[in-house]
């Protein structure tokens, strides 16, 4: 307990510098704006705003990216409530009761419930994160190659099974990601692998692929909808505050939604969508008036919103402690951090505690800042929804291509980003999920290294993977996740 308190104080020393507070505010505001825009979620927000972090020290960069992530989570629900169009998939559930509330003339109250629920979920998630990260990181330090390989195998299978769609397509996506990860010089033998052009000698910079998938592909998806324009009547929003009745009805959903969301967030690949739908189902079954759900039930808004933000904290646990991103947004953040020379994982807590704890403390500060942004500025912020897609989309493209250049100052990256964007769009059309591909691309190098090191230790015997208890536990979890998916889908192929 003392150690946690000491580390947290160290974190606050870092987080509460004027520069970092300023970036929490700027990142939170930018994230809120991007998260609010229909079709653009937190991953897009972080991907297009990566250039903003160039020139910063790694701690400030990570703090800024977390603020963008958080801001986008706060902002995602604004569009759901006001125009019945979610900012991203995790804000779909907010439409169910948030929009009916707005239609009844309670838009202001719905915005306030959503902001407070996000705040409570975020704070509760941070408390869980604070107490969980250190022991997980300490345990991870003891992992050998066999444990690391099995852990990554579990992360990959969990992402496949928790992603939407067919498991086989998930495996294809994972395979494609691993294929891309093997391009370049082999780190152990120096052999050149799949290097068709000289620019691929050092491998593929996965941040370029991320910008392609999460910024440019998202714009492509919106090309069919460019004339969409939403009307927002500021006068009908009313006061952005919660009534006593709303406070009373929100309390228990927050208590249930926060831990639930956090737990879902820790699982690789699960993400906010599953967390919010689960929370909605829990609230509906716990309610004495389930018939109110879908017609503006406070519980249907408060529970999922708190689960969503707690989930984003949960996703940071595997990222910070194991170096394994728990969501698409966390994957983009991991890429950006590696570019800045920081490798998240157990060593981060040991060698750079000021970075790890500075970020954690900044998120506590960020939560308060975002509440302060989202309550008084709710009405001016929702006015941004009036900006038509045909103006926003070119700006996102501009940011994406500009960010691509900053990564390596290479014109070849523009080919990579364009091809990956087209690939992402076409894979989406074929219902091949992107998250397993992205995770495999990121973890591919480490997975192979652990696999080869483990086999070298055991003289080529695969028994090393099931003779070590922790490794065996991860393998069992991987099998369980596959069995769960088979039960959930009923069959392994879905269109």
């Amino acid at each position: 307990m003392d150690t946690v308190f000491h580390n947290l104080m160290l974190g606050f020393d870092v987080a509460l510098t004027p520069v970092n507070i300023m970036w929490v505010f700027i990142g939170g505001l930018l994230g809120t704006v991007i998260g609010m825009l229909p079709g653009l979620g937190p991953a897009t927000g972080v991907a297009v705003l990566i250039p903003v972090t160039y020139g910063m020290n790694p701690t400030t960069a990570l703090i800024t990216m977390c603020a963008v992530y958080y801001g986008a989570m706060f902002g995602g629900s604004r569009a759901s409530i006001m125009i019945n169009t979610p900012g991203d998939a995790s804000a779909i559930v907010t439409c169910f009761d948030g929009y009916p509330m707005a239609k009844k003339g309670k838009a202001g109250e719905a915005l306030a419930i959503s902001a407070w629920a996000s705040f409570v979920g975020g704070m509760a998630g941070m408390v869980f994160l604070i107490f969980l990260t250190a022991p997980v990181a300490a345990m991870a330090l003891k992992f050998g190659p066999a444990e690391k390989f099995s852990l990554m195998l579990f992360a990959l299978t969990a992402t496949i099974t928790l992603s939407e769609g067919s498991i086989l397509k998930g495996f294809i996506a994972m395979g494609l990601g691993l294929m891309m990860a093997t391009i370049g010089l082999d780190g152990q033998s120096g052999a050149s692998r799949f290097v068709f052009v000289e620019d691929l000698q050092d491998g593929i910079d996965f941040l370029v692929i991320m910008i392609g998938f999460y910024a440019v592909t998202e714009v492509f998806k919106n090309f069919s909808d460019i004339d969409q324009q939403y009307s927002v009547d500021a006068k009908s929003i009313g006061s952005v505050s919660m009534s006593k009745e709303a406070w009373r009805r929100s309390f228990m959903p927050w208590l249930r939604g926060s831990p639930l969301g956090f737990l879902v967030g820790v699982l690789p690949g699960a993400g906010g969508t599953i967390a919010t739908f689960l929370s909605y189902a829990v609230e509906k079954s716990a309610s004495k008036k389930p018939e109110e759900f879908g017609h503006g039930a406070v519980e249907g808004l408060a529970g999922p919103e708190s689960a969503n933000n707690a989930c984003s904290c949960g996703a940071l646990v595997p990222l910070l402690t194991l170096g394994i991103p728990g969501s698409g947004t966390a994957a983009v953040m991991l890429g950006a951090l590696m570019m800045l020379g920081v490798r998240p994982g157990p060593v981060l807590f040991e060698q750079h505690p000021e970075v790890a704890w500075g970020v954690i403390a900044s998120m506590l500060v960020g939560n308060i800042v975002l509440l302060a942004i989202n309550l008084p500025l709710a009405i001016p912020l929702v006015q941004l929804l009036k900006i038509p897609q045909r103006i926003m989309l070119p700006l996102v493209l501009g940011m994406g291509f500009m960010g691509t250049y900053f990564l390596n100052y290479s014109s070849f990256d523009f080919i990579l980003v364009s091809v990956s964007a087209l690939g992402g769009y076409m894979l989406g059309k074929l219902s091949i999920p992107i998250p397993p591909l992205v995770l495999a691309l990121i973890l591919g190098g480490m997975t192979e290294q652990s696999y080869r090191n483990a086999l070298q230790i055991s003289n080529g015997s695969i028994s090393i993977f099931y003779e070590k208890p922790i490794s065996l536990a991860f393998l069992i979890m991987a099998v369980i996740s596959l069995v769960y998916a088979l039960k959930r889908h009923g069959k392994i192929v879905k269109v």
Binding site: P51, Y54, G55, S166, L168, K169, F171, I172, M174, G175, L176, L178, M179, T182, D186, Q188, S189, G190, A191, S192, R193, F194, V216, F220, F223, S224, I226, R390, I391, L393, P394, L395, L397, G398, M399, F401, M402, T404, Y405, F406, Y409, S411, F414, I415, S418, V419, A421, L422, Y425, L430, S431, E448, Y451, R452, L455, Q456, G460, I492, V493, V495
Partner: protein
Amino acid sequence: MTKNMQSGIFAVIIGLAYLAGTFKIPVFETGDSIGPRSFPFLIAAIVLISGVALIINDLRAKERKPFSWGFVAHSAVWLRIAATIFFGIAFGLVLDTLGYLIAMFLFMIIITELINVGRHKQNLIISLAFALISFLSFAVLLKLSLPRGLLGGILPF
């Protein structure tokens, strides 16, 4: 052809191409007994098995809905995508020669004209503002290296 069938065929083609590439990886007699081919073989196997399984499952399916890419029905969307890719790559190729300001302005004006059709004045303002603000923010304020290109001798910063 259904979506699953197309996905399966795609996976098999990619898997075979990757497998062929794996055989071309040079193997050195160093201390690494596992070798650089071992892991790629596993990957190729995963993709090939998944692809074949998808195809078999699709052939067995009772209901087979044909899938269309919509190249004709959604030709405007595909044209915009193709143009974005073309001009995105072109932007990268001319960036160093023309300089960031000119290249970004040209890229933005083309993209805005593609998306925000017919609103020339609006597009001009957006493109100019984006190029200028991003240049000032990153090259001047954050002091990041951006090519000056043709305007190298004119720009005061």
